[in-house]
């Protein structure tokens, strides 16, 4: 009798618990989720932008420094400022032939004028 009584109480308690389960957040929950998701997405993009702007001045400064060093080391030659800054080698007809003979096979090199 007691067991049966307890069983009935368990069933009643189970029913009470099931009926009392929370089934909703406060109104507008899905809107809050979407807003938060968008904000997170934007903050990611903004973070990427911040990183970009942090790196750009450093990269520009490094490029300028390298260009200055190149120009300084080539200042005695007759290269233009651009060629010197970019450390471009001077190209003439003679050096062009020389470089093609360097890459060409020994046979083809002998056939050159």
């Amino acid at each position: 009798m007691t067991d049966r009584h307890d069983e009935l109480h368990d069933d009643a308690l189970g029913a009470l618990l099931r009926a009392s389960a929370p089934d909703r957040f406060d109104a507008g929950f899905s809107g809050r989720v979407l807003t938060r998701r968008r904000a997170e997405e934007q903050s990611w993009a903004a973070g990427l932008q911040r990183q970009f702007f942090r790196v750009v001045p450093l990269a520009a400064a490094a490029a300028l420094l390298l260009a200055s060093m190149n120009w300084w080391s080539a200042r005695s030659s007759h290269a233009s400022v651009i060629d010197a800054a970019l450390n471009l080698p001077q190209v003439s007809l003679a050096t062009a032939y020389a470089s093609s003979s360097y890459y060409a096979s020994p046979d083809s090199a002998t056939q050159m004028p």
Binding site: H9, D10, A12, L13, G14, A15, L16, L17, R18, A19, S20, A21, P22, D23, R24, F25, D26, F29, S30, R32, V33, L34, R36, R37, E40
Partner: protein
């Protein structure tokens, strides 16, 4: 109005960036996540925050979700883990300053009992407070087994404990709830589905 399209279709659309499909999934599974988060943390900002975070994490893992578990199980699992983390964090900061069972004691005052003019919403609040007053381990089992109707095996998997542990914890939790909610259970004061609000 609820979206009639099946989960698979909504998932495929959400993966392609369809925000309305994702919103439809949020609305469809809000109840599952609410039962877990509010059941574990009580109604309030913490539970709402856990609910939002659950769906944010779900969105991040849309491409990885392959449907091995049902969406309900998957979301309840995330919500349970986040709720347990929130409880640990709350315990570290707030719980040492509060009395713990005061809210339940207040809710179970005679004025709020079945003899008074307690409505269904009030009764739900009382029951939810009684569940919130259980220890963390007992509460987790009640939330998953009784609130959400997960099987013992599913509950054990989600909590990472043996099935026997789930059963023993459930038994102890039910005994404790039986004591706390005796007046409501004895008088057969049950909310009907139409009466229930939250």
């Amino acid at each position: 109005m609820t979206d009639p399209r099946p989960d698979d279709e909504l998932l495929a659309l959400a993966r392609r960036g369809d925000e309305r499909a994702f919103a439809a999934l949020v609305e469809r599974y809000e109840g599952v996540v609410a039962a877990t988060a509010i059941g574990m943390l009580g109604r309030g900002d913490d539970a709402d925050d856990v609910g939002q975070e659950t769906f944010i994490r779900f969105h991040r893992s849309l491409d990885r979700f392959r449907g091995e578990a049902s969406l309900k199980t998957y979301l309840a699992h995330i919500a349970m883990n986040l709720s347990l983390n929130a409880l640990r964090s709350r315990r570290r900061t707030l719980l040492r300053f509060s009395g713990g069972d005061d809210a339940v004691a207040d809710a179970l005052e005679p004025g709020a009992g079945p003899a008074g003019e307690t409505d269904a919403a009030e009764l739900k609040r009382v029951v939810q407070h009684a569940v919130t007053a259980l220890s963390e381990k007992h509460r987790a089992v009640v939330v998953l087994r009784m609130f959400q109707d997960f099987s013992t095996r599913e509950t054990a998997q989600m909590l990472g404990v043996p099935e026997g542990t789930v059963l023993s914890r459930l038994s102890r939790a039910m005994q404790e709830l039986q004591t706390r909610l005796a007046p409501y259970v004895r008088d057969g004061f049950l909310p009907t589905p139409m009466e229930t609000t939250r």
